[in-house]
Symmetry: C2
Subunit: 298 residues, 2 copies
């Protein structure tokens, strides 16, 4: 397996101004893994409960290697969140860890040689342990969320030291570093020991940092955004999926990977839940990426 | 005169978290005009009071043709505003129109042949009248602010019909069009009769719209921002100044002009008030623009 994605698979309840989705397929690793799978064979390490719908299992199986997916007695991890009418603020209404609590991830033998590993929004301590089981890592990347920053900040910082790249959204970067300027945020994160920092800014694109170089990339303007869920995860999945497909991690390819991140993030928000990614074709991605390249050129 | 800028010249009181500036040189036309002056000879149509400090007059005279500057009995227009600690929200504490009230702008004879005209944040009715006095306009652009949107929306829309381009910030575009999606905002503005729309997004850059084409450009990442005052005006001034210097208004040059807008906006915020623009050299602009070109390339 060239790429392993470790993280949450969830049943999401998403309340948008236009539609409410109940118990739909979600989770950071679901979005990141499926997004990556358009670029490279991807293995998933995650856990689901016995209640996990067959149709969702089928979706995962159609795009991912599931040797790393554990099925446990109990209910699948659930998340319930509500967007404001501008779709820019999400309020968490409920989180039920269920089978995710005390989950002991197992790395299948054929995943251990993965050269690319993505740690989606997981418990940082668990991530630190898991990454040790991979012995040929060429490029690893992680994300984190407000919950871990608030409850396990020291572990988050420790985790950052263990990976090559941190992809994090702007508000979480500010919260974590207590800086309001994004360059200052990134510098602090790099000082903690990671080589690359990618700050995701939603519709405004992203900033990639490496040493004293910055690559700012504009977001892909979209007229019809219906559900931002999973956009950041799709972004990160596309990045590492693209890099794994190229087997290269030079700065030029990392910049390219960010632009594929923009593209996959843009698809994710145009339909509800995972729908955009599951109905996507490889040719759609290539077409939109070409469009993007042309669009930003001057 | 190739370019005429019409708008406000002010004495600003700016309260930032790090410094309070009292009665310093400001105003939309001041920033836009000085910014444009780095690219092309620029004439200013504005009004000041007898209290306008000589040192500020000297600054204006050093960069602009002032045949269109009226000096009236009374006090200069004053603005007082305060930034929050992230420098992203500005609250207006006080506005004193003073000599700006009932000002009848006079267009000097040698300005009438200007091929490029920029109408800074002015009374839209006054702008509509003023633009009629130019008979060889190749490219005109205007901006507007919340105050006019709230008090004279119909006139703002009418003004938009009279110009080739509207440069407006994102929050004002949303307020004006009652849309939260920026593409929808721009489409509505174009439907009102303007050809090009530029939505300015502060640190996140801008979106340029023309027919069904969009040019998204990333902002120039900056580590030390001290005072955002005048950034949007400097952006617009650079745009039209650049175009006037090229005497071209094809889409490719308009895209280039936006990138110069990003660059001049980035300088504006690095020092307090007008200081960044008055200490700038032409070579600084060229250098930073090259940096920007290199930075965003992938």
């Amino acid at each position: 397996m060239m790429l392993t994605v470790f993280g949450s698979t969830a049943l999401d309840t998403i309340r948008t101004p236009t539609r409410v989705l109940k118990d739909v397929l979600g989770g950071a690793a679901t979005f990141a893994g499926i997004s990556a799978s358009f670029f490279v064979d991807t293995g998933l390490i995650a856990v689901i409960g016995k209640d996990f719908p067959k149709k969702y299992h089928k979706i995962l199986a159609s795009r991912l290697n599931l040797d790393g997916l554990s099925v446990k007695n109990g209910k699948t991890f659930r998340y319930d969140g509500k967007y404001d009418k501008t779709l820019s603020i999400r309020t968490t209404l409920r989180t039920e860890l269920n089978v995710l609590e005390n989950f002991q991830p197992v790395v299948p033998e054929q995943y251990r040689k993965s050269q690319f590993v993505y740690l989606a929004n997981n418990d940082p301590d668990q991530n630190i342990e898991l990454i040790k089981e991979f012995d040929r890592v060429k490029f690893s990347m992680c994300d984190t969320i407000e919950f871990w920053i608030s409850t396990k900040k020291a572990s988050v910082v420790k985790m950052f030291k263990q990976v090559d790249a941190v992809a994090i959204n702007d508000e979480e970067a500010k919260l974590l570093t207590k800086e309001s300027n994004l360059i200052k945020c990134a510098k602090k994160i790099m000082e903690w020991g990671t080589k690359y920092v990618i700050i995701k800014k939603g519709q405004h694109g992203s900033l990639l940092f490496f040493e004293d170089v910055i690559f700012p990339s504009a977001g892909l303007p979209l007229e019809n955004v219906v559900d931002p869920t999973g956009a950041g995860d799709s972004f990160a999945g596309a990045m590492i999926g693209y890099l794994a497909s190229k087997k290269k991690t030079n700065f030029s390819e990392i910049k390219n990977s960010v632009t594929y991140g923009n593209v996959m993030g843009s698809f994710a928000v145009e339909k509800y839940g995972i729908d955009a990614l599951t109905t996507l074709k490889r040719s759609d991605i290539i077409k939109r990426h070409k469009q993007y390249e042309k669009m930003v050129r001057f």
